[in-house]
Subunit: 216 residues, 2 copies
DNA sequence: AGATTTTTAGACAGACTTGTCCAAATCGTC
DNA sequence: GACGATTTGGACAAGTCTGTCTAAAAATCT
Protein backbone atom coordinates (compact mmCIF):
# COMPACT_ATOMS: atom_id res chain seq x y z
CA UNK A 1 0.00 0.00 0.00
CA UNK A 2 0.93 3.63 -0.15
CA UNK A 3 2.04 5.42 2.97
CA UNK A 4 0.91 8.84 1.89
CA UNK A 5 3.25 10.74 4.15
CA UNK A 6 6.27 10.90 1.90
CA UNK A 7 7.98 14.31 2.08
CA UNK A 8 7.83 15.35 -1.51
CA UNK A 9 9.77 13.33 -4.00
CA UNK A 10 10.71 10.19 -2.15
CA UNK A 11 7.76 7.92 -2.73
CA UNK A 12 6.44 8.90 -6.17
CA UNK A 13 9.87 8.96 -7.79
CA UNK A 14 10.07 5.45 -8.92
CA UNK A 15 6.55 4.34 -9.45
CA UNK A 16 4.61 7.40 -10.47
CA UNK A 17 7.44 9.20 -12.19
CA UNK A 18 8.13 6.20 -14.32
CA UNK A 19 4.50 5.87 -15.21
CA UNK A 20 4.46 9.44 -16.42
CA UNK A 21 7.71 9.03 -18.24
CA UNK A 22 6.26 6.05 -20.09
CA UNK A 23 3.10 7.92 -21.05
CA UNK A 24 5.15 10.85 -22.31
CA UNK A 25 7.46 8.70 -24.36
CA UNK A 26 4.53 6.72 -25.71
CA UNK A 27 2.78 9.90 -26.76
CA UNK A 28 5.87 11.06 -28.58
CA UNK A 29 6.41 7.76 -30.35
CA UNK A 30 2.76 7.09 -31.21
CA UNK A 31 2.56 10.58 -32.57
CA UNK A 32 5.70 10.28 -34.64
CA UNK A 33 5.30 6.72 -35.95
CA UNK A 34 1.59 6.13 -35.71
CA UNK A 35 0.07 3.35 -33.65
CA UNK A 36 0.90 0.63 -36.15
CA UNK A 37 4.41 1.84 -36.67
CA UNK A 38 5.31 2.11 -33.01
CA UNK A 39 6.89 -0.63 -31.01
CA UNK A 40 7.08 -1.10 -27.31
CA UNK A 41 10.84 -1.47 -27.25
CA UNK A 42 11.30 1.97 -28.72
CA UNK A 43 8.84 3.48 -26.27
CA UNK A 44 10.56 1.80 -23.36
CA UNK A 45 13.96 2.98 -24.55
CA UNK A 46 12.71 6.52 -25.06
CA UNK A 47 11.20 6.48 -21.58
CA UNK A 48 14.42 5.21 -20.09
CA UNK A 49 12.67 2.14 -18.75
CA UNK A 50 12.74 -1.56 -19.40
CA UNK A 51 10.14 -3.09 -21.67
CA UNK A 52 8.79 -5.16 -18.83
CA UNK A 53 8.01 -2.03 -16.87
CA UNK A 54 5.83 -0.77 -19.70
CA UNK A 55 3.87 -3.99 -19.60
CA UNK A 56 3.68 -3.89 -15.82
CA UNK A 57 2.13 -0.47 -15.90
CA UNK A 58 -0.18 -0.61 -18.87
CA UNK A 59 -0.90 -4.20 -19.81
CA UNK A 60 -0.57 -4.07 -23.55
CA UNK A 61 -0.06 -1.76 -26.47
CA UNK A 62 -3.74 -0.99 -26.94
CA UNK A 63 -4.27 -0.12 -23.30
CA UNK A 64 -1.11 1.98 -23.31
CA UNK A 65 -2.49 3.92 -26.24
CA UNK A 66 -5.77 4.49 -24.45
CA UNK A 67 -3.93 5.67 -21.36
CA UNK A 68 -1.97 8.14 -23.46
CA UNK A 69 -5.08 9.61 -25.04
CA UNK A 70 -6.91 9.80 -21.73
CA UNK A 71 -4.10 11.49 -19.88
CA UNK A 72 -3.27 14.00 -22.56
CA UNK A 73 -6.93 14.90 -22.98
CA UNK A 74 -7.13 15.60 -19.27
CA UNK A 75 -3.99 17.70 -19.25
CA UNK A 76 -5.12 19.76 -22.21
CA UNK A 77 -8.49 20.29 -20.66
CA UNK A 78 -7.06 21.62 -17.45
CA UNK A 79 -4.81 23.93 -19.38
CA UNK A 80 -7.64 25.15 -21.58
CA UNK A 81 -9.90 26.11 -18.73
CA UNK A 82 -7.03 27.74 -16.96
CA UNK A 83 -6.33 29.78 -20.08
CA UNK A 84 -10.01 30.52 -20.59
CA UNK A 85 -9.92 32.14 -17.17
CA UNK A 86 -7.78 34.86 -18.74
CA UNK A 87 -10.38 35.70 -21.39
CA UNK A 88 -10.76 39.48 -21.64
CA UNK A 89 -14.27 39.90 -20.26
CA UNK A 90 -13.81 43.59 -19.74
CA UNK A 91 -11.45 44.55 -22.51
CA UNK A 92 -9.68 47.84 -22.77
CA UNK A 93 -8.30 47.49 -26.26
CA UNK A 94 -10.21 44.59 -27.78
CA UNK A 95 -7.71 43.98 -30.57
CA UNK A 96 -4.81 43.91 -28.15
CA UNK A 97 -6.54 41.90 -25.44
CA UNK A 98 -7.98 39.30 -27.78
CA UNK A 99 -4.64 38.92 -29.53
CA UNK A 100 -2.94 38.32 -26.23
CA UNK A 101 -5.60 35.78 -25.36
CA UNK A 102 -5.13 34.07 -28.71
CA UNK A 103 -1.42 33.89 -28.04
CA UNK A 104 -1.99 32.27 -24.67
CA UNK A 105 -4.37 29.82 -26.30
CA UNK A 106 -1.82 28.88 -28.91
CA UNK A 107 1.00 28.58 -26.44
CA UNK A 108 -0.86 26.66 -23.77
CA UNK A 109 -3.32 24.54 -25.70
CA UNK A 110 -2.79 24.35 -29.43
CA UNK A 111 0.85 24.84 -30.23
CA UNK A 112 1.69 23.02 -27.08
CA UNK A 113 3.39 19.66 -27.12
CA UNK A 114 0.28 18.02 -25.72
CA UNK A 115 -1.96 19.87 -28.12
CA UNK A 116 0.02 18.80 -31.11
CA UNK A 117 0.09 15.22 -29.93
CA UNK A 118 -3.60 15.02 -29.24
CA UNK A 119 -4.64 16.63 -32.49
CA UNK A 120 -2.42 14.38 -34.48
CA UNK A 121 -3.50 11.25 -32.66
CA UNK A 122 -7.14 12.13 -33.13
CA UNK A 123 -6.65 12.72 -36.81
CA UNK A 124 -4.54 9.70 -37.52
CA UNK A 125 -6.08 7.08 -35.24
CA UNK A 126 -9.56 8.42 -34.58
CA UNK A 127 -11.03 6.48 -37.44
CA UNK A 128 -9.70 3.19 -36.14
CA UNK A 129 -10.87 3.69 -32.55
CA UNK A 130 -14.39 5.01 -32.79
CA UNK A 131 -15.04 4.79 -29.06
CA UNK A 132 -11.65 5.90 -27.88
CA UNK A 133 -12.01 9.63 -28.37
CA UNK A 134 -15.44 9.77 -26.80
CA UNK A 135 -13.91 11.42 -23.77
CA UNK A 136 -12.15 13.97 -25.91
CA UNK A 137 -15.28 14.72 -27.88
CA UNK A 138 -17.34 15.33 -24.76
CA UNK A 139 -14.70 17.35 -23.01
CA UNK A 140 -13.19 19.07 -26.05
CA UNK A 141 -15.78 20.29 -28.51
CA UNK A 142 -18.54 19.62 -26.03
CA UNK A 143 -17.29 21.57 -23.06
CA UNK A 144 -14.31 23.76 -23.79
CA UNK A 145 -15.71 25.18 -27.00
CA UNK A 146 -19.05 25.87 -25.46
CA UNK A 147 -17.27 27.67 -22.66
CA UNK A 148 -15.39 29.82 -25.16
CA UNK A 149 -18.63 30.55 -27.00
CA UNK A 150 -20.17 31.65 -23.71
CA UNK A 151 -17.39 34.17 -23.22
CA UNK A 152 -17.97 35.59 -26.67
CA UNK A 153 -21.67 35.79 -25.94
CA UNK A 154 -20.96 37.83 -22.82
CA UNK A 155 -18.66 40.08 -24.77
CA UNK A 156 -21.43 40.65 -27.29
CA UNK A 157 -23.99 41.29 -24.60
CA UNK A 158 -21.71 43.85 -23.03
CA UNK A 159 -21.66 45.62 -26.37
CA UNK A 160 -18.11 44.82 -27.38
CA UNK A 161 -19.01 42.48 -30.23
CA UNK A 162 -21.75 42.26 -32.80
CA UNK A 163 -22.70 38.63 -33.31
CA UNK A 164 -25.79 36.41 -33.42
CA UNK A 165 -24.28 32.96 -33.12
CA UNK A 166 -21.61 32.73 -30.44
CA UNK A 167 -20.90 29.08 -31.23
CA UNK A 168 -20.18 29.92 -34.83
CA UNK A 169 -18.06 32.86 -33.74
CA UNK A 170 -16.05 30.64 -31.39
CA UNK A 171 -15.47 28.07 -34.13
CA UNK A 172 -14.39 30.71 -36.58
CA UNK A 173 -12.18 32.39 -34.02
CA UNK A 174 -10.37 29.13 -33.45
CA UNK A 175 -10.18 28.47 -37.19
CA UNK A 176 -8.61 31.86 -37.84
CA UNK A 177 -6.19 31.52 -34.98
CA UNK A 178 -5.24 28.07 -36.19
CA UNK A 179 -4.90 29.00 -39.84
CA UNK A 180 -1.23 29.85 -40.05
CA UNK A 181 -0.28 27.49 -37.31
CA UNK A 182 -1.67 24.45 -39.01
CA UNK A 183 -0.07 25.38 -42.25
CA UNK A 184 3.33 25.77 -40.67
CA UNK A 185 2.91 22.41 -39.02
CA UNK A 186 2.03 20.79 -42.32
CA UNK A 187 5.09 22.38 -43.83
CA UNK A 188 7.17 21.14 -40.95
CA UNK A 189 8.22 24.65 -39.97
CA UNK A 190 8.16 25.93 -36.41
CA UNK A 191 6.99 29.51 -36.17
CA UNK A 192 9.04 31.97 -34.20
CA UNK A 193 7.50 33.84 -31.33
CA UNK A 194 7.26 36.93 -33.50
CA UNK A 195 5.53 35.09 -36.31
CA UNK A 196 3.14 33.56 -33.83
CA UNK A 197 2.35 37.01 -32.53
CA UNK A 198 1.80 38.38 -36.02
CA UNK A 199 -0.42 35.44 -36.86
CA UNK A 200 -2.53 35.99 -33.76
CA UNK A 201 -2.83 39.69 -34.47
CA UNK A 202 -3.96 39.09 -38.04
CA UNK A 203 -6.47 36.47 -36.98
CA UNK A 204 -7.96 38.78 -34.38
CA UNK A 205 -7.97 41.71 -36.78
CA UNK A 206 -10.02 39.77 -39.29
CA UNK A 207 -12.25 38.44 -36.54
CA UNK A 208 -12.93 41.94 -35.31
CA UNK A 209 -13.52 43.28 -38.81
CA UNK A 210 -16.23 40.67 -39.04
CA UNK A 211 -17.63 40.78 -35.53
CA UNK A 212 -16.48 44.06 -33.98
CA UNK A 213 -18.99 46.77 -33.16
CA UNK A 214 -19.39 49.00 -36.16
CA UNK A 215 -19.95 51.91 -33.87
CA UNK A 216 -16.75 52.77 -32.07
CA UNK B 1 6.67 -1.27 -76.34
CA UNK B 2 3.30 0.41 -76.40
CA UNK B 3 1.41 0.57 -79.66
CA UNK B 4 -0.69 3.57 -78.85
CA UNK B 5 -3.53 2.70 -81.18
CA UNK B 6 -5.67 0.66 -78.82
CA UNK B 7 -9.38 1.46 -79.27
CA UNK B 8 -10.27 2.56 -75.77
CA UNK B 9 -10.12 0.02 -73.04
CA UNK B 10 -8.32 -2.93 -74.57
CA UNK B 11 -4.70 -2.07 -73.97
CA UNK B 12 -4.64 -0.18 -70.69
CA UNK B 13 -6.89 -2.61 -68.87
CA UNK B 14 -4.38 -4.86 -67.39
CA UNK B 15 -1.26 -2.85 -66.97
CA UNK B 16 -2.30 0.72 -66.41
CA UNK B 17 -5.61 -0.02 -64.79
CA UNK B 18 -3.96 -2.32 -62.31
CA UNK B 19 -1.33 0.27 -61.53
CA UNK B 20 -4.04 2.78 -60.75
CA UNK B 21 -6.01 0.27 -58.77
CA UNK B 22 -2.94 -0.44 -56.67
CA UNK B 23 -2.29 3.24 -56.04
CA UNK B 24 -5.90 3.79 -55.04
CA UNK B 25 -5.97 0.85 -52.68
CA UNK B 26 -2.62 1.85 -51.22
CA UNK B 27 -3.87 5.37 -50.61
CA UNK B 28 -6.91 4.02 -48.80
CA UNK B 29 -4.92 1.63 -46.66
CA UNK B 30 -2.03 3.99 -45.87
CA UNK B 31 -4.57 6.58 -44.92
CA UNK B 32 -6.55 4.26 -42.71
CA UNK B 33 -3.73 2.36 -41.02
CA UNK B 34 -0.78 4.71 -41.37
CA UNK B 35 2.40 3.79 -43.15
CA UNK B 36 3.74 1.64 -40.34
CA UNK B 37 0.45 -0.12 -39.80
CA UNK B 38 -0.14 -1.00 -43.43
CA UNK B 39 0.95 -4.20 -45.04
CA UNK B 40 1.41 -5.03 -48.65
CA UNK B 41 -0.83 -8.10 -48.54
CA UNK B 42 -3.78 -6.02 -47.46
CA UNK B 43 -3.12 -3.43 -50.14
CA UNK B 44 -2.84 -6.12 -52.80
CA UNK B 45 -6.05 -7.76 -51.64
CA UNK B 46 -7.90 -4.44 -51.56
CA UNK B 47 -6.64 -3.68 -55.07
CA UNK B 48 -7.76 -7.10 -56.29
CA UNK B 49 -4.24 -7.93 -57.34
CA UNK B 50 -1.56 -10.37 -56.27
CA UNK B 51 1.15 -9.23 -53.93
CA UNK B 52 3.80 -9.85 -56.53
CA UNK B 53 2.11 -7.40 -58.86
CA UNK B 54 2.45 -4.66 -56.30
CA UNK B 55 6.16 -5.35 -56.09
CA UNK B 56 6.44 -5.52 -59.87
CA UNK B 57 4.92 -2.10 -60.24
CA UNK B 58 6.40 -0.18 -57.37
CA UNK B 59 9.48 -1.93 -56.07
CA UNK B 60 8.94 -1.70 -52.35
CA UNK B 61 6.71 -0.24 -49.69
CA UNK B 62 8.56 3.04 -49.45
CA UNK B 63 8.48 3.64 -53.19
CA UNK B 64 4.83 2.67 -53.29
CA UNK B 65 4.11 5.28 -50.67
CA UNK B 66 5.98 7.90 -52.64
CA UNK B 67 4.05 7.01 -55.77
CA UNK B 68 0.78 7.39 -53.89
CA UNK B 69 1.69 10.84 -52.61
CA UNK B 70 2.95 11.98 -55.99
CA UNK B 71 -0.08 10.81 -57.90
CA UNK B 72 -2.65 12.13 -55.49
CA UNK B 73 -0.90 15.48 -55.34
CA UNK B 74 -1.07 15.70 -59.11
CA UNK B 75 -4.73 14.75 -59.22
CA UNK B 76 -5.67 17.29 -56.58
CA UNK B 77 -3.70 19.95 -58.34
CA UNK B 78 -5.50 19.43 -61.61
CA UNK B 79 -8.82 19.51 -59.84
CA UNK B 80 -7.91 22.64 -57.93
CA UNK B 81 -6.94 24.63 -60.98
CA UNK B 82 -10.01 23.42 -62.78
CA UNK B 83 -12.11 24.62 -59.88
CA UNK B 84 -10.20 27.85 -59.63
CA UNK B 85 -11.29 28.52 -63.19
CA UNK B 86 -14.81 28.95 -61.85
CA UNK B 87 -13.78 31.69 -59.42
CA UNK B 88 -16.30 34.53 -59.62
CA UNK B 89 -14.17 37.24 -61.21
CA UNK B 90 -17.17 39.31 -62.13
CA UNK B 91 -19.60 38.53 -59.36
CA UNK B 92 -23.23 39.48 -59.39
CA UNK B 93 -24.07 38.62 -55.81
CA UNK B 94 -20.72 38.22 -54.09
CA UNK B 95 -22.10 36.30 -51.12
CA UNK B 96 -23.90 33.85 -53.36
CA UNK B 97 -21.13 33.48 -55.92
CA UNK B 98 -18.35 33.04 -53.37
CA UNK B 99 -20.43 30.53 -51.43
CA UNK B 100 -20.98 28.52 -54.55
CA UNK B 101 -17.27 28.67 -55.27
CA UNK B 102 -16.49 27.56 -51.72
CA UNK B 103 -18.86 24.64 -52.20
CA UNK B 104 -17.10 23.60 -55.38
CA UNK B 105 -13.78 23.88 -53.61
CA UNK B 106 -14.95 21.66 -50.80
CA UNK B 107 -16.52 19.12 -53.08
CA UNK B 108 -13.71 18.89 -55.62
CA UNK B 109 -10.59 19.49 -53.58
CA UNK B 110 -10.99 19.39 -49.83
CA UNK B 111 -13.84 17.12 -48.92
CA UNK B 112 -12.91 14.93 -51.81
CA UNK B 113 -11.57 11.43 -51.33
CA UNK B 114 -8.18 12.50 -52.66
CA UNK B 115 -8.19 15.64 -50.58
CA UNK B 116 -8.90 13.78 -47.40
CA UNK B 117 -6.22 11.23 -48.16
CA UNK B 118 -3.56 13.74 -48.98
CA UNK B 119 -4.23 15.92 -45.99
CA UNK B 120 -4.16 12.99 -43.65
CA UNK B 121 -1.01 11.54 -45.16
CA UNK B 122 0.75 14.88 -44.95
CA UNK B 123 -0.23 15.30 -41.35
CA UNK B 124 0.57 11.82 -40.20
CA UNK B 125 3.66 10.97 -42.23
CA UNK B 126 5.03 14.36 -43.22
CA UNK B 127 7.31 14.48 -40.21
CA UNK B 128 8.93 11.18 -41.07
CA UNK B 129 9.56 11.99 -44.74
CA UNK B 130 10.93 15.49 -44.82
CA UNK B 131 11.73 15.41 -48.52
CA UNK B 132 8.69 13.51 -49.65
CA UNK B 133 6.17 16.30 -49.61
CA UNK B 134 8.44 18.72 -51.38
CA UNK B 135 6.32 18.33 -54.50
CA UNK B 136 3.17 18.97 -52.56
CA UNK B 137 4.62 22.02 -50.86
CA UNK B 138 5.71 23.55 -54.16
CA UNK B 139 2.53 22.75 -55.97
CA UNK B 140 0.09 23.14 -53.09
CA UNK B 141 0.82 26.14 -50.91
CA UNK B 142 3.32 27.44 -53.45
CA UNK B 143 1.18 27.47 -56.56
CA UNK B 144 -2.50 26.86 -55.90
CA UNK B 145 -2.72 29.20 -52.95
CA UNK B 146 -0.88 31.92 -54.74
CA UNK B 147 -3.29 31.50 -57.62
CA UNK B 148 -6.24 31.85 -55.27
CA UNK B 149 -4.67 34.92 -53.70
CA UNK B 150 -4.28 36.42 -57.17
CA UNK B 151 -7.99 35.99 -57.78
CA UNK B 152 -8.81 37.77 -54.55
CA UNK B 153 -6.41 40.53 -55.50
CA UNK B 154 -8.22 41.04 -58.78
CA UNK B 155 -11.53 41.09 -56.99
CA UNK B 156 -10.18 43.77 -54.69
CA UNK B 157 -8.80 45.78 -57.56
CA UNK B 158 -12.15 45.65 -59.28
CA UNK B 159 -13.65 47.18 -56.19
CA UNK B 160 -15.49 44.14 -54.91
CA UNK B 161 -13.32 43.55 -51.87
CA UNK B 162 -11.41 45.70 -49.43
CA UNK B 163 -8.12 44.05 -48.55
CA UNK B 164 -4.43 44.81 -48.34
CA UNK B 165 -2.89 41.36 -48.17
CA UNK B 166 -4.40 38.94 -50.69
CA UNK B 167 -2.26 36.05 -49.44
CA UNK B 168 -3.54 36.49 -45.93
CA UNK B 169 -7.08 36.78 -47.24
CA UNK B 170 -6.71 33.56 -49.22
CA UNK B 171 -5.34 31.72 -46.20
CA UNK B 172 -8.13 32.98 -44.00
CA UNK B 173 -10.74 32.19 -46.62
CA UNK B 174 -9.54 28.61 -46.71
CA UNK B 175 -9.37 28.45 -42.93
CA UNK B 176 -12.97 29.66 -42.59
CA UNK B 177 -14.22 27.31 -45.27
CA UNK B 178 -12.40 24.44 -43.61
CA UNK B 179 -13.48 25.24 -40.09
CA UNK B 180 -16.60 23.11 -39.80
CA UNK B 181 -15.35 20.50 -42.20
CA UNK B 182 -12.26 19.70 -40.23
CA UNK B 183 -14.20 19.52 -37.06
CA UNK B 184 -16.70 17.10 -38.47
CA UNK B 185 -13.87 14.97 -39.76
CA UNK B 186 -12.25 14.89 -36.34
CA UNK B 187 -15.56 13.88 -34.89
CA UNK B 188 -15.93 11.20 -37.51
CA UNK B 189 -19.17 12.67 -38.82
CA UNK B 190 -19.90 13.19 -42.49
CA UNK B 191 -21.71 16.42 -43.19
CA UNK B 192 -24.81 16.35 -45.33
CA UNK B 193 -25.00 18.42 -48.47
CA UNK B 194 -27.22 20.91 -46.68
CA UNK B 195 -24.82 21.25 -43.76
CA UNK B 196 -21.97 21.71 -46.17
CA UNK B 197 -23.89 24.46 -47.88
CA UNK B 198 -24.70 26.18 -44.61
CA UNK B 199 -21.09 25.93 -43.55
CA UNK B 200 -19.89 27.48 -46.79
CA UNK B 201 -22.43 30.28 -46.53
CA UNK B 202 -21.41 31.10 -42.97
CA UNK B 203 -17.75 31.07 -43.85
CA UNK B 204 -18.29 33.42 -46.77
CA UNK B 205 -20.55 35.66 -44.72
CA UNK B 206 -17.87 36.14 -42.10
CA UNK B 207 -15.24 36.57 -44.80
CA UNK B 208 -17.29 39.30 -46.45
CA UNK B 209 -18.05 41.01 -43.16
CA UNK B 210 -14.29 41.28 -42.77
CA UNK B 211 -13.26 41.99 -46.34
CA UNK B 212 -16.37 43.17 -48.20
CA UNK B 213 -16.63 46.71 -49.44
CA UNK B 214 -18.14 48.86 -46.74
CA UNK B 215 -19.81 50.94 -49.40
CA UNK B 216 -22.58 48.96 -51.01
C1' DA C 1 -2.31 -19.65 -83.49
C1' DG C 2 2.16 -18.67 -81.67
C1' DA C 3 5.31 -15.70 -79.22
C1' DT C 4 5.92 -12.48 -75.54
C1' DT C 5 4.83 -10.22 -71.60
C1' DT C 6 2.30 -9.83 -67.38
C1' DT C 7 0.03 -11.82 -63.58
C1' DT C 8 -0.71 -15.22 -60.18
C1' DA C 9 -0.33 -18.29 -56.12
C1' DG C 10 2.47 -20.16 -53.12
C1' DA C 11 6.67 -21.23 -50.77
C1' DC C 12 10.45 -19.22 -48.51
C1' DA C 13 14.21 -17.03 -45.41
C1' DG C 14 15.18 -13.29 -42.57
C1' DA C 15 13.83 -9.93 -39.71
C1' DC C 16 10.94 -7.85 -36.44
C1' DT C 17 7.02 -7.67 -32.66
C1' DT C 18 4.27 -8.86 -29.14
C1' DG C 19 3.53 -10.47 -24.77
C1' DT C 20 5.19 -13.83 -21.09
C1' DC C 21 8.39 -15.75 -17.86
C1' DC C 22 12.15 -15.71 -14.65
C1' DA C 23 16.20 -14.83 -11.77
C1' DA C 24 19.08 -11.17 -10.41
C1' DA C 25 19.62 -6.39 -9.23
C1' DT C 26 17.81 -2.20 -7.37
C1' DC C 27 15.04 0.71 -4.62
C1' DG C 28 12.54 2.52 -0.62
C1' DT C 29 10.90 1.49 3.99
C1' DC C 30 11.21 -0.05 8.71
C1' DG D 1 20.90 -3.94 7.83
C1' DA D 2 16.83 -6.66 6.52
C1' DC D 3 12.55 -6.89 4.23
C1' DG D 4 9.11 -6.42 0.44
C1' DA D 5 8.10 -4.44 -3.77
C1' DT D 6 9.59 -2.87 -8.15
C1' DT D 7 12.59 -2.93 -11.93
C1' DT D 8 15.71 -4.98 -15.05
C1' DG D 9 17.74 -7.64 -18.85
C1' DG D 10 17.51 -11.36 -21.27
C1' DA D 11 15.47 -15.50 -23.12
C1' DC D 12 11.48 -17.22 -25.26
C1' DA D 13 7.41 -18.93 -28.39
C1' DA D 14 4.11 -17.49 -31.58
C1' DG D 15 2.91 -14.64 -34.82
C1' DT D 16 3.44 -11.20 -38.59
C1' DC D 17 5.69 -8.81 -42.38
C1' DT D 18 8.87 -7.86 -46.11
C1' DG D 19 10.87 -8.87 -50.23
C1' DT D 20 12.51 -12.71 -53.39
C1' DC D 21 11.91 -16.64 -56.15
C1' DT D 22 9.53 -20.08 -58.81
C1' DA D 23 6.62 -22.35 -62.17
C1' DA D 24 2.13 -22.20 -63.95
C1' DA D 25 -1.75 -19.50 -65.79
C1' DA D 26 -3.66 -15.60 -68.21
C1' DA D 27 -3.64 -11.87 -71.14
C1' DT D 28 -1.72 -9.30 -75.09
C1' DC D 29 0.41 -8.55 -79.54
C1' DT D 30 1.63 -9.96 -84.22
Amino acid sequence: MRTANAPDIALPRSHMAKRESVVDAAARVFCREGFGGSNIDLIAAEAGVSRQTVYNHHGDKERLFEAVVREITERINVEFFETLGTFPDKPGDLQKDLSAFAMRLMRNCICNRDGKFLRKLIQSEGERYPGLFETWREQGPGKTWAALAARFARLALAGHLDLDDPDLAARQFLALVNADLQMSMMLGVTLTEAELEASAAQAVKTFLRAYGRKVA
